[in-house]
Symmetry: D3
Subunit: 131 residues, 6 copies
């Protein structure tokens, strides 16, 4: 009755779901697909949509691939999404993130949350120099 959904493995997936799994594996040059995608597979249009978004947003652009992953990890850490920290943290490490960089990222996440709250609570007016 609950609200959880079990991962759908490749062997049990429909052709349209397998096509997305195949594209994920080919794009990332790996031989497996994460549970996030396997759970989204209960709703194939959403699986395709979210993967298409990820491909576009995390693909080549003005920010280098490591910086993109660091930003994804930072937002996920700020939001407390453990799966996302683990999956994008792993991706960031593959792209070169060091332990020292991860430590600094976490410090920024923590401190930004502190100052974000102080600024918002105090209703600080934006300085004209920032406009």
């Amino acid at each position: 009755m609950g609200a959880r959904r079990e991962p759908i493995e490749y062997s049990a997936a429909s052709a349209e779901v397998r096509a997305v799994y195949d594209d994920i594996m080919a794009t990332r040059n790996v031989k497996w697909v994460g549970n996030f995608w396997k759970v989204l597979a209960h709703d194939p249009p959403t699986l395709q949509r979210i993967w298409s978004n990820i491909k576009q947003v995390m693909g080549p652009g003005s920010l280098d691939p490591l910086t993109k992953e660091l930003l994804y990890v930072a937002v996920s850490a700020s939001n407390g999404c453990h799966y996302c920290i683990a999956s994008h943290g792993t991706a960031a490490r593959k792209k070169g993130m060091t332990e020292a960089q991860y430590s600094e990222l976490l410090s920024i996440v923590g401190l930004a949350n502190e100052t974000n709250k102080l600024v918002t609570a105090l209703g600080v007016d934006i300085d004209p120099q920032f406009l």
Copy 2:
């Protein structure tokens, strides 16, 4: 009676507050101090503490200065702190952030929030490959 605090200008500040303002201006090589610091100045130990934290966290390290600002902007954007987006966005631009990079940063913030929520709502188990 309210909870807002007015900025304390340099001319009205105590010696200990001025010392922090002076250090902020010297460290950043600018001739003014933002409203955040002027509002924190109602509580000098907190002004010193937060500035000291910012100096340590945002100072030289393993991540380059631009990446640090991008991370700060991303967390602030995710938290909806307009002052913080404006102030750290300005700092990021001074350090070289382009319009295209800012666009990509915002896209990552938006998409990470979408997937963070989906993952958390669905209670996705962390794959062993991410441990």
Copy 3:
């Protein structure tokens, strides 16, 4: 020493707590009470107050019972409350929510979080047509 509280079972409950449990079971036409209520039972006035709020807000009104549960699930999913997603998701299914509807609900929760963050970060002005 911790901050958790153990559920208080019917057999161990005071008369005033049992009265609330009885009303929950009668209102919902079930023979058991969820852990949320059993944990709140450590504080009987709060147990009564929260139950009274739920009864009023989720009772008959202008929105049909299924829509009310869908809204509760959506907010709970957005907030990442697993217990709430599970309990209100179960209630929604009893009232007719299909798998396809649940998928669409989750998609809306995810996308709304993405656009909410983008809009807030960008400080978009409200169009006069929306006032």
Copy 4:
């Protein structure tokens, strides 16, 4: 220097941006485009991507159009996004949302946030009946 972006009007928009504006107006059968889209237009791939997501998620499906808007309003209200409440609230009213329904929606948002926090803070275990 700041982080805000001004709306790009139709007359000043590129052909690719106009194509999205045209599709928004045609899909919704209106003669104007909201500021959200005009601000996203600084980044045409993101404009196209977000519009494409909205079209897919909010288009015909298992949930009726009003219920979809109510869910969008509820999540936006829970997240405190005024622009989103105003724009999706307007859409919901066009699709038939009454004042009484809006009141009930807000009550659910408020109460769900209260119980979500209580449940999460108390670490309530999910009952087997909800699994």
Copy 5:
């Protein structure tokens, strides 16, 4: 068309709304009612329900009245609700909150948000001494 609601003044209020306004003024020994109540008045059952909750939760108990207001201000500051910070901050000052106490409260809110995020991001296991 929008989603905002205008305050309903006493002179324009129904008898049932006036009864709540009268009780608010009598309970607080003041001669006016805040905009929050006047906006809730569009939905009299919700006006009564929320006021009844506030009366019960903020009324006499084990925590002294000032501590209760400080807790309300702290949560509101953490959530960035300006109206709530202003209204409960005013109430706290009437009950004796000093500027120094308000400064300390804000420091705790900021620091708790920093450590809450670090702890959650790092997935720290609860020590047995805290159970």
Copy 6:
């Protein structure tokens, strides 16, 4: 590959980490150190910085030690940080927090979250009496 960090025990810690552990134990008059500090120890400057912040913010001031802990628990409960609720809840109990006080604190956290969301969603204007 993941993003979690294991606690660093005293016996395995560097001299600079041990110095912080020693100061934590001496300040709190206990013979052990919580997992939060042991996980932060992977990044000694952050360990020192956060501990220094906690010492300053939670040390003697205008608010009594119990009230400070109650505020920390309330913010942590509102943010759903279980470790923080458990650790600061334990500290609050050592300083005298009763079960009844904890119940009232939780009620305030829950209700403040409800009214914070309603106020923010409704865009209530701040009354001049609160300015």
